[in-house]
C-alpha cells in the first residue's frame, strides 16, 4: 500500500507539472475552433485590462460605478467629471454581484468612494458568474479575493483560467502587454467608460420567460451593501434601460423591482426616460450614445443630490 501511495503521489506531482505545461502551450495557441474550459481574456471586451490598470491610479472617489456591460457602456463618466465629481467606472462584461463583491473587496480601501452606483441587471442575477469571473481573473492580479470569487462561482472554466493566469503572471508573460485604447468602433474613455460609435438598433422579438435568481447572487448583493456600509459609502441601485420588446419578454419584472428595492434606494430607468427602441439603443440590451446621454442627464442630478 505504501509503495502504491508513493507512486500515486509521484504521479500527482508529474500530472500537476504536465498539466501546467499543457495548459500553457494550449492557452498560448488556443485555436478559435476549439472552445474549451479555458477562457483567458486579456484585454478583451470592454477594455477590462485598461480599466484595471487605471483603477490602480485612482483614489478618493465621489462616485464608483460598478456592474455589467450596461454599466461600462451606460454610465459615461465625462458629464460627472465636467460637474466636478471624481468618478470611476469599474464595470466589466457580464459582471454579476459575485464579481462586484470581489472587486469592491479589493479596491474599496484604495478608492474610498462616497457613493457606489451599482447597476443591477436582473439577467445578471440569474447567472453563475463564469463569464465575468474569467474576464476579471485574466485582467488583474490574483489575490485571496479572486480565490474566494472562484470558489463561489466554482466552475471548471474559472479554475482553469485562474491556474493559467497564475502561470502567466508567475512567468511574467504579460508584463509588457499594452491594450490599444481603440478597437474597431469602440474607444476606452479614461475613467472607465467604453464609447461605441453611434449605431442604431433593429429590435427583435423574444419568447416570454422569467428570471430565475441564483441564491449566491442575492447573498452577494447583501455582502456588497455590508461592505459599503463598513466603508461609509452610500449605495444606489440603478437598472439601466432595455429595449421594450426584450424587457417585456420577461414575466417577472415587477418581482425583480421589488427584490432590488428591498436592499437600498433603487431606480429603474425603464419607462422613466423617453427612449426609442431603435434610435436610442444599438442592441436590445445596450443604449447607444444618444441613449447614454439621456440616461446620464437624468442620473447626474440624482447622484449630486445623494452626495449633497
Amino acid at each position: 500500500m505504501g509503495g502504491f501511495l508513493k507512486r500515486l503521489a509521484g504521479f500527482a506531482l508529474v500530472a500537476l507539472l504536465g498539466y501546467s505545461v499543457l495548459l500553457l502551450v494550449y492557452g498560448a495557441n488556443q485555436p478559435h475552433a476549439l472552445r474549451s474550459n479555458l477562457k483567458y481574456k486579456l484585454g478583451s471586451y470592454g477594455f477590462m485590462h485598461s480599466r484595471m490598470q487605471e483603477v490602480k491610479t485612482r483614489h478618493d472617489l465621489d462616485v464608483l460605478f460598478v456592474g455589467s456591460s450596461h454599466a461600462y457602456r451606460g454610465f459615461d463618466t465625462r458629464p460627472y467629471t465636467a460637474a466636478g465629481l471624481n468618478v470611476f467606472n469599474m464595470g466589466s462584461s457580464s459582471q454579476s454581484p459575485i464579481q462586484t463583491r470581489m472587486l469592491l473587496q479589493r479596491y474599496m480601501d484604495q478608492l474610498s468612494p462616497r457613493l457606489v452606483v451599482l447597476e443591477v441587471a436582473p439577467e445578471m442575477m440569474t447567472f453563475g458568474g463564469q463569464e465575468s469571473a474569467v474576464g476579471v481573473i485574466s485582467n488583474d492580479k490574483l489575490d485571496r479575493h479572486v480565490w474566494q470569487m472562484a470558489s463561489d462561482v466554482d466552475h471548471l472554466m474559472v479554475w482553469n483560467t485562474l491556474w493559467y493566469t497564475g502561470i502567466r503572471q508567475g512567468l511574467g508573460l504579460d508584463d509588457d502587454f499594452a491594450e490599444p485604447l481603440t478597437r474597431g468602433n469602440e474607444t476606452y474613455i479614461p475613467g472607465g467608460y467604453t464609447e461605441k460609435a453611434l449605431l442604431f438598433n433593429s429590435p427583435k422579438s423574444y419568447p416570454t420567460k422569467a428570471y430565475t435568481i441564483e441564491p449566491l447572487q442575492k447573498q452577494a448583493l447583501q455582502d456588497i451593501l455590508d461592505l459599503c456600509a463598513q466603508h461609509g459609502a452610500g449605495v444606489l441601485f440603478v437598472q439601466t434601460p432595455l429595449a421594450s420588446g426584450f424587457r417585456d419578454s420577461f414575466t417577472n419584472n415587477a418581482e425583480m423591482d421589488s427584490l432590488f428595492a428591498t436592499y437600498t434606494t433603487y431606480i429603474n430607468y425603464n419607462g422613466r426616460l423617453a427612449l426609442s427602441d431603435s434610435l436610442d439603443f444599438y442592441d436590445d440590451r445596450h443604449l447607444n450614445q444618444n441613449g447614454v446621454a439621456k440616461l446620464n442627464a437624468a442620473l447626474l442630478p440624482v447622484v449630486q443630490e445623494v452626495l449633497n
Binding site: V14, Y19, L22, Y26, L34, R35, S36, N37
Partner: protein, 481 residues
C-alpha cells in the same frame, strides 16, 4: 452521487482509506462496504433504500430456506416468492404506468373514454440492475449451483455494492458473492489498473458522451429541422453517446471495485468493432445479455430445440431485453430489430463466427472492415428506436433520414464545439482500437508503453477531460433503466 462529481471523489477517498485501515478483518470491511453503499444510494433518495433492504431481506431468507428444504414443490414455492417479490417491485415501479397508459390508449382506440390511473412515480435508481442481481442469486441457489450465503452483512454488501449498484455490471452471485466471504489483500497492480480504467471511463462519459449528447438531443428533439446527412450523423452521435455513457460507467465501476480488491466482470468489449450482430451482442452490455442467456434463453431450450422454438426463444430474449430497458414500445422495437438481424446468423449456424477481436493476428482484412462498418450502420439505425421518445418520433426521424432534398447539407454552426468533439471522438476510437485486446482501453498501455509514455498519456487524458468536459449535473443514461 454521480461518479463524475466532487462528492463521489471525496466519498471514494474516505471509504478507501477507512477500508484498508481495517487490515485482516474482512467482515468489518463488508460492514463498511454495506454502510458506504447505503450512503451512496441514499444520496439520491434515501426513501428508496427501503426497496433494497426489502429485496435483500427477502432473497436472503428465501435462499436460506432453499438451503434447508428438499421438497421440490416447496422449493418451487420459495423461488416463486423471490420472483414475485423482485419482479413485482420492478414491475410496479417501472411498468405499472406503461401498462395503464397502453390499456387506456387501446380502449380509447375502440371508442371508450377512460381516465388513466397512473402513479407518476419516480423510478428508483438502479432497480433493474440490483433486482436482476438478487434474482440470479436465488435462482442459482434454487438450482443448487450456489450455496446459500450465511452472512447477512456479506449478502447485503453484495446486493448493494456501491460501484455497480445503480448501473451495473449486473454481477452474478457466483462471481461476486464469494469475494465477500474471504480476505481481500491490497494489490497495487490491480489498484493501479483500477485507476487507469476509472480515468478512461471518466473520459468516455464527460468528454465523449456528454458532448455527443448535445448533438443527439437536438437532432432527436427536432428531426424535421435537419437534413438527412445531419440525422445520419445524429444517430452516430447517439451511438457514441450511449457507448461513452454506459461503458464509461462500467469502466468506472469496475475500476472502483479493483481499488477495494474486487474483480467485476467485463461489461463492454469494444462492441463497435464487431463484424456482425452476434458479435456485437457478445460485446455489448455483456452482464445483461449473459444474464438473459443463462436465466431465460437456456431454460427455454436455447438453440438445442426445433427451429421454430429457436426462433421463438430468440424473439423472447431480444424483446424482453428491449423491454428491460424501459417501459416504451420503442425499446421493444429496438429489440425486435436486433432479433431480426441476429436470427439469420443463428439459423445459418454463423452466430459464433467471430469470437476473437478483429485483427487478432494483424491488420484486419478489407472484408472485415466492411463487415464492421455494416454492423455499425445497422446498430446506429436500431439506436434510432432506442433514443426516440415515441414510435411517432422514430418515424419522423426515419422520414428525415430518407428525405433526399438537400440530404447532404451539413451545418454545425449552431452547435457548441463540434471541432473539439470530433477530435475527441477520433482520440477515443484510436485508443480503443489499439487497446481492443485488453479488458479496457488503457489496459494494454501497461504492457506496451514505458512508464514515461504511459504517464504522459494519462496526463493528456486528464487535460482533455479538464478542457473539454461538459460542465454541469449530467446524469448517466442507464440510471433511467
Amino acid at each position: 452521487m454521480l461518479f463524475n462529481s466532487i462528492d463521489f471523489a471525496v466519498f471514494l477517498v474516505v471509504v478507501f482509506a477507512l477500508y484498508w485501515a481495517i487490515p485482516r478483518r474482512w467482515k468489518w470491511q463488508n460492514l463498511l462496504v454495506l454502510a458506504a453503499s447505503y450512503v451512496f444510494y441514499g444520496w439520491w433518495d434515501w426513501r428508496f433504500l427501503s426497496l433494497i433492504v426489502v429485496s435483500t431481506g427477502i432473497d436472503f431468507a428465501v435462499a436460506s430456506a432453499l438451503g434447508r428444504v428438499e421438497d421440490p414443490r416447496r422449493r418451487k414455492g420459495l423461488l416463486a416468492v423471490s420472483l414475485t417479490a423482485n419482479l413485482g417491485l420492478l414491475g410496479f415501479f417501472k411498468y405499472y404506468d406503461f401498462f395503464v397508459e397502453s390499456f387506456t390508449e387501446a380502449f380509447t382506440w375502440f371508442g371508450a373514454e377512460i381516465e388513466p390511473a397512473t402513479l407518476g412515480w419516480v423510478l428508483p435508481v438502479g432497480i433493474s440492475f440490483y433486482t436482476f442481481q438478487t434474482l440470479s442469486y436465488t435462482i442459482d441457489v434454487y438450482r443448487r449451483t450456489l450455496a446459500p450465503e450465511k452472512n447477512l452483512v456479506a449478502f447485503g454488501a453484495y446486493v448493494s455494492f456501491f460501484p455497480q449498484l445503480v448501473a451495473g455490471p449486473i454481477e452474478r452471485a457466483s462471481n461476486l458473492l464469494p469475494q465477500f466471504g474471504r480476505q481481500r489483500t491490497f494489490d497495487a497492480q490491480a489498484a493501479a489498473d483500477g485507476l487507469r480504467q476509472m480515468l478512461w471511463g471518466l473520459f468516455k462519459k464527460v468528454v465523449i458522451a456528454d458532448n455527443c449528447a448535445r448533438f443527439a438531443d437536438a437532432m432527436f428533439g427536432w428531426p424535421h429541422e435537419y437534413s438527412g446527412a445531419m440525422l445520419a450523423l445524429g444517430a452516430v452521435f447517439f451511438a457514441l453517446q450511449i457507448y461513452g455513457d454506459f461503458s464509461g460507467y462500467s469502466d468506472m465501476a469496475i475500476g472502483t471495485a479493483k481499488l477495494f480488491g474486487f474483480e467485476l466482470k467485463q461489461n463492454f468489449a469494444f462492441p463497435y468493432f464487431s463484424r456482425d450482430i452476434a458479435e456485437f451482442w457478445r460485446r455489448w452490455h455483456i452482464s445483461l445479455s449473459t444474464w438473459f442467456r443463462d436465466y431465460v434463453y437456456i431454460p427455454l431450450g436455447g438453440s438445442r430445440v426445433s427451429k421454430a422454438k429457436v426462433v421463438r426463444n430468440t424473439f423472447i430474449i431480444f424483446l424482453v431485453s428491449g423491454f428491460w430497458h424501459g417501459a416504451n414500445w420503442t425499446f421493444v422495437i429496438w429489440g425486435l430489430v436486433h432479433a431480426l438481424c441476429f436470427l439469420p446468423l443463428l439459423l445459418g449456424g454463423r452466430n459464433r463466427k467471430y469470437l476473437g477481436v478483429i485483427g487478432q493476428d494483424g491488420f484486419p482484412r478489407w472484408h472485415e472492415w466492411l463487415r464492421m462498418l455494416g454492423t455499425f450502420v445497422v446498430v446506429c439505425l436500431a439506436w434510432v428506436f432506442f433514443r426516440a421518445s415515441s414510435l411517432g418520433k422514430a418515424g419522423e426521424y426515419f422520414d428525415g433520414l430518407t428525405t433526399f432534398k438537400e440530404w447532404g447539407h451539413i451545418d454545425f454552426s449552431s452547435f457548441p464545439n463540434p471541432t473539439a468533439t470530433a477530435l475527441m471522438i477520433v482520440f477515443m476510437v484510436l485508443v480503443e482500437w489499439f487497446g481492443r485486446r485488453g479488458q479496457h482501453g488503457l489496459q494494454v498501455w501497461k504492457q506496451k508503453l514505458p512508464t514515461a509514455a504511459r504517464w504522459g498519456g494519462y496526463v493528456l487524458i486528464l487535460f482533455f477531460i479538464s478542457m473539454f468536459m461538459r460542465v454541469g449535473d449530467i446524469t448517466f443514461i442507464y440510471f433511467q433503466f
